[in-house]
């Protein structure tokens, strides 16, 4: 690689990462600002964190969001894992094109369309079969797990495609039943992907404003809905404090998860190398 070119690449990377990180850093710094104005630094203070924890509406919304996030991520894992397995291991079957379309489309579908269409489904279902009676946490959970399942399916599928199929074939030749093969061989091998898929679904659910706004009912205000209504009025130091806490929690979670994934990867490589010898 020529020197001129690598200088260009390094400055592109430096500019890109500055672009990605400076705004986040500013939010964190100004969460410790004493004054209410964002532009004027008037001394270090943690008072906005105290006022955040005394904001009952915000705490309730955060609690709702966490509950919805855990339930949606778990449901999305239960639906997305078989979907990913089907896509990479089941070969051709009737309706496969439609199936792969229903997995790819939620990844890019504008949220306003997904939100509106799900709301109209829930309203129609309520008219016809009386379920779901009203909207709230359960309808948000269904909505979130549906689009998160598509993400899980893609993560699981790409993990399975990169994986050696011969171990599963060997087990099948030796007479293991499909269910046993899945739980004893496939599942342990795709465990890092499942962890990544769950975490991805959890954060996507925690983050969603648009879809939740459409399918929410009274009493099921989520954290993003609360943040959005406050942000609309302008910058507030309390939101900066909340943002800092979210960024901190996510960073810790991601670092732990990637260390776990890296470690299991290394173990796998080591055992693979040992078997080569």
């Amino acid at each position: 690689m020529s020197g001129k070119r690598s200088t260009f690449l390094i400055s592109a990377l430096a500019f890109g990462f500055a672009f990605l990180y400076v705004p986040i850093l500013l939010v964190i710094i100004y969460s410790f600002n004493e004054g209410k104005l964002v532009t004027v630094w008037s001394g270090f203070s943690t008072k906005w964190y105290v006022s955040l924890f005394n904001n009952d509406g915000m705490i309730d919304a955060a609690w709702n969001s966490l509950r919805i996030g855990v339930m949606s991520a778990t449901l999305a894992l239960a639906l997305g894992t078989p979907a990913g397995l089907v896509m990479s291991r089941f070969g051709r079957f009737k309706g496969r094109t439609l199936f792969s379309g229903m997995i790819a489309a939620p990844l890019v579908m504008p949220e306003v369309i997904t939100g509106l269409s799900l709301l109209l489904l829930f309203v129609t279902l309520e008219q016809i079969v009386g379920w779901p009676a009203g909207r709230g946490i359960s309808t948000i959970t269904i909505a979130h797990s549906t689009f998160c399942a598509a993400y899980v399916a893609v993560v699981v599928q790409s993990r399975l495609s990169g994986m050696d199929i011969s171990v599963e074939e060997a087990a099948m030749d030796l007479g293991a039943k499909p269910g046993k093969i899945f739980f004893v061989i496939t599942l342990p091998m795709i465990l890092p992907a499942l962890l990544a898929g769950w975490l991805l679904s959890f954060t996507l659910s925690l983050d969603d404003l648009v879809i939740a706004s459409f399918v929410a009912g009274p009493g099921s205000t989520t954290l993003p809905m609360k943040v959005f209504s406050s942000v609309r009025l302008g910058v507030s130091p309390e939101i900066n404090a909340l943002a800092t806490l979210i960024i901190l929690a996510v960073s810790i979670l991601i670092v732990i998860a990637s260390i776990m994934i890296l470690r299991s990867e290394r173990m796998r490589n080591r055992t693979a190398n040992a078997s080569d010898i």
């Binding site: 690689m1 020529s2 592109a12 990377l13 500019f15 990605l20 986040i24 500013l26 939010v27 964002v38 532009t39 004027v40 639906l79 997305g80 078989p82 979907a83 089907v86 990479s88 089941f90 199936f99 792969s100 379309g101 229903m102 790819a104 489309a105 990844l107 890019v108 579908m109 504008p110 949220e111 306003v112 369309i113 997904t114 269409s117 109209l120 489904l121 309203v123 129609t124 008219q127 549906t146 399942a149 399916a153 039943k177 499909p178 269910g179 954060t203 925690l206 404003l209 648009v210 706004s213 943040v227 942000v231 302008g234 910058v235 939101i239 900066n240 979210i246 960024i247 996510v250 960073s251």
Partner: protein, 309 residues
């Protein structure tokens, strides 16, 4: 062995071997069908009904009259979309803003993805992690961060006024410029990741061969690297373009009252005007335009998956 001598477990196993495959396909299939596909049909249906002061606020499409079903299709909503230039403006604006943002994202993302793909092993995973990290942190908060930066009393203005470069604050928030910044900022990881995965897989000896055969570095880039990374460019661009067309949060928080985008129009029809049929018609109009890019995206996804196997 006759079947009545089988234990319950054996029967269950037999049943699973026979029907397990159908079950594994069937459960996610049914779920996605019910909660992803059927809703669009309902949106289509309601886009043909009329707004009413009722609960839910639209008229029934099917009615029992004289022992027969009459279907009243009402094209009024679509005619209304055509008659009011507001919708056409919002529609074209969204496509233009999404397209320009996609190009800017590509121009920033490509060198970054290339740099990461050519970095040394351990450095590479650190850089990749740095791209993914903002993608996991809250989208709303990343948009919010720019309010504080671009506002009239924001950080850029405060800095420029302090240095004396300007004497009047610049208007940056509530402009189309701010919407571009917001879209490029939040969607950049979606562009970098697919670009990185094609660039990383690329055989570097091809470039070396081109250089050995007398290509200048830029020629090698245009003739070898660029065509080989085309799947990544397409996947990344579609991942940015399609959701950006229907974007609501960014134009609402960073754009001005004049920054009309179709996602925002849909939101206002639904929440402010409570006109569900018009909102449905807007959604269908958006989908009609997006169907082709979405199918294209799916095609690239499947092709890439098959290429891996």
């Amino acid at each position: 062995m006759s079947s009545d001598k089988l234990t319950l477990k054996q029967r269950f196993d037999r049943w699973m071997i026979k029907h397990g495959r159908v079950l594994v396909i069937g459960i996610p299939y049914f779920w996605l069908f019910l909660f992803f596909l059927v809703p669009f049909l309902i949106v289509l249906k309601i886009s043909f009904s009329m707004a009413e002061y009722a609960q839910p606020p639209y008229s029934a499409l099917f009615a029992w009259i004289d022992e027969g079903v009459t279907i009243t299709l009402n094209f009024g909503n679509y005619l209304f979309l055509l008659s009011d230039s507001l919708y056409a403006t919002a529609y074209l604006n969204s496509i233009r803003i999404a397209a320009i943002s996609t190009v800017i994202t590509l121009l920033i993302g490509y060198p970054m993805a290339y740099g990461i793909a050519r970095a040394r092993g351990s450095m590479r995973s650190v850089l990749l992690m740095l791209v993914i990290l903002p993608f996991w942190t809250s989208f709303l908060i990343r948009v919010y961060a720019w309010i504080g930066i671009l506002d009239r009393e924001g950080l850029i203005n405060a800095f420029l006024l302090w240095t004396g470069i300007i004497s009047e604050p610049l208007i940056m928030r509530q402009t189309e410029f701010a919407v571009y910044v917001g879209i490029v900022y939040t969607y950049l990881p979606f562009m970098i990741l697919p670009l990185y995965s094609t660039l990383e897989k690329m055989d570097i000896s091809l470039i070396e061969a081109a250089l050995d055969l007398g290509c200048k570095p830029w020629q090698a880039f245009v003739k070898v690297t660029l065509p080989l990374s085309l799947p990544g460019i397409l996947a990344g661009s579609l991942l940015v373009f399609i959701p950006a067309v229907g974007e609501f949060v960014i134009p609402e928080l960073l754009g001005g009252p004049n920054t009309l985008m179709i996602g925002r129009t849909l939101w206002n029809e639904f929440f402010a005007n409570r006109d569900w049929p018009i909102a449905s018609a807007v959604a269908i109009a958006m989908l009609v335009f997006l169907v082709v890019p979405i199918m294209w995206f799916q095609h690239i996804q499947t092709k890439q998956e098959e290429g891996q196997q």
